[in-house]
Every structure is written in structure tokens, then in C-alpha cells.
Amino acid sequence: MLESVEKKVEELKRMNLEAKALGDWQFEVLVPRERTAEILAYMKATGYKTFIHLACVDWIDDQEFELVYNLENYDEKAQALVKVRIPRNKPEMESMMSIWGLCQVYEREIHEFFGINFIGNPNLKPFFLDEWLDIPPLRKDFDTLAFSQELFEFKEDESHGIKAPKRIEYK
């Protein structure tokens, strides 16, 4: 494990945050929602300048969404995964556009795929999908197979000799 990662994890622990190293050069830190902007600004000020991605995980059993801000530090060769959990029934989050302008597109994407509303983001118009009316597609309760069968109707067609592929569900 890199020394810089070890040091940073200790430092974050002193700030009353849950932090742990994940590998040689990366660590994760769980941040409460209110402190996200503060912690991200702090991380940016301490060298984690590059915003790599913003991902979302739908923990449907916990009824929570997890937002993962991935930051990279070129000087200390370290990577940070800053995680924020928000409730699933009230999917709202502050926009981090003021820290990284790049967040705008990532937030727009997550709004489209998970239905999370980012307060303060001026442009959350549809991005990748056209005229989407169903529940956001990357949520766990969205059934893509049922959607595909319903909309595109892959029916067996004797006249063309087309058979629907055999489906095996692994349990």
C-alpha cells in the first residue's frame, strides 16, 4: 500500500469519516450527504484534482442509492472513491458543479438512468435516451428483458424460419 494512501486514510478517519484502503493505490471514504460538498472541496484542495467519474449504485435491499465520486491525485499517485448514500424514496442530491464543472454531464446522465434529482444543476434534460417514459432503466426494479420483449416483440416467426433464442436463467 502506498504511504500517501495510508496517510490520507488516517487523516480522513480523524475527521470522523469511515475510510478504508481498497488496494495499493485506492481507498474509499463514506461521507454523509450534508458534508459532501465540504469533503469534496477539501479533497480537491489537497491534491485530488482530477474528477474521474461519478457512478451510482442502486442498493435496493437497503432502499438507498450510493453515489461514488472517483477522484485522482497525480502527485501522490492515489485514487479516492468518495461515497455518499441517499434514500431511495426521496432521490435528491446537491449538485457538485461548483467544484468540478464536469459534474454537470455526469449528473445529467445519472438523472436519466437512476432518476436522482440534482439540486442546482440547470440542465437535466434527456441525454442518452429519447422519450423515455418508463422507470429509469438502470434501477434494479427495471426489467430490461420484459421491456425488450414487450416493445420489440421477438415472436417466433414460422414464415421466416426465425426462432426465439433459448434462454437459460442461472440461479
Binding site: K125, L129, P136, S148, F154, I162, P165
Partner: protein, 181 residues
Amino acid sequence: MSEWKDLTNFFRGRSFWMLHYCTGCGAMELPPTMTSRWDMERFGVIPMATPRQADILLVTGYLSLKSLKRLIYTYEQMHAPKWVLGFGSCTINGGVYWDSYNVIERLDKYLPVDLYIAGCMPRPEAILDSFKKLRELVEKGEAKGYEKYVKNYEWYKANQDRVLKRTKPVLQKPEEVTRSA
């Protein structure tokens, strides 16, 4: 009159101008086909920049719903006679994306396909072979997809509208999800 038709078909079959529209990942095999290794210009096939100039619409691979809309515009802008080649298994039955929410399955429900090229992805030889096969079909006067499209326009239009102009959710909502724009 039939001699004249044969003559035009002979020339049409030897001068396919292909629309340079990379709809999917199959477009990756087009540069080798166009350039020095396989050189499809030998057979009179050259890429064209706009649909007005093109004779062939090569649908290279899967089509997302958004692309399908643009593809239909493009197809309708082309001047007859025009032909559609379905490239790769994704245009035939959805391929590896058979359960994807954004990829159409059979292309010939939305556009009249004259020829399918199987494989994921088809090799350049297969593409060249398909041009040869299409030439045979055109010379025999059998590749009439564009006439089929005009004749069965209602059917094609209904299929297109079904996937592109949705007014209500496809699946029953399990619970009410609020989502502000």
C-alpha cells in the same frame, strides 16, 4: 423495354455508392474494406457523404432507438433505387443485445432489408461477398426493397411509430416513481 431495364440494372449493379454512416460497431470493419487491404473500390463501391448521393444503406450493426429514428430519416432521403444491407447478427435478431432496452431486434420490421450479412462482426471478405450477391440480385431485378417499402408503407410506419412514438410506459409501473424533468 426489358433490354433497357437489363442494361440499367447491369450498370446499377456495378456502381454501388454506399452511405458513409457508421450506425454501430460493425463500422470498424469498413475502413479495412475501403482501404488498401481489401479495396472495395475495385467493385465500384465507394463511400458517399450524404444520403442524396448514395444507393446503399449499410446498417452496420445494432441500432439503438435514437439511431433508428435518424436511420429512417436517412433512408427516406435517399433516391430510389436504393438498397438496405443488414450487417451483422444484431440486425437479424438483436445479437448479444437481445435483452437490451435500447436496441431493436429485427431490422426488417422497420426498413425493407435486401440482404443480411451474418456474423459478429462479418469479415471484410463477407462484406465484399455481399456486394457481389447484391449485384446478382440487382441484375436479376430481384432486389426490390424500396418498392416493397412504398407498397407496405402503412405497415412499416406502424412498426416505426410503435417503438419511436411512445405515449405511455411500456411496462406497468410497479410503483409510482416521481421524476421531474
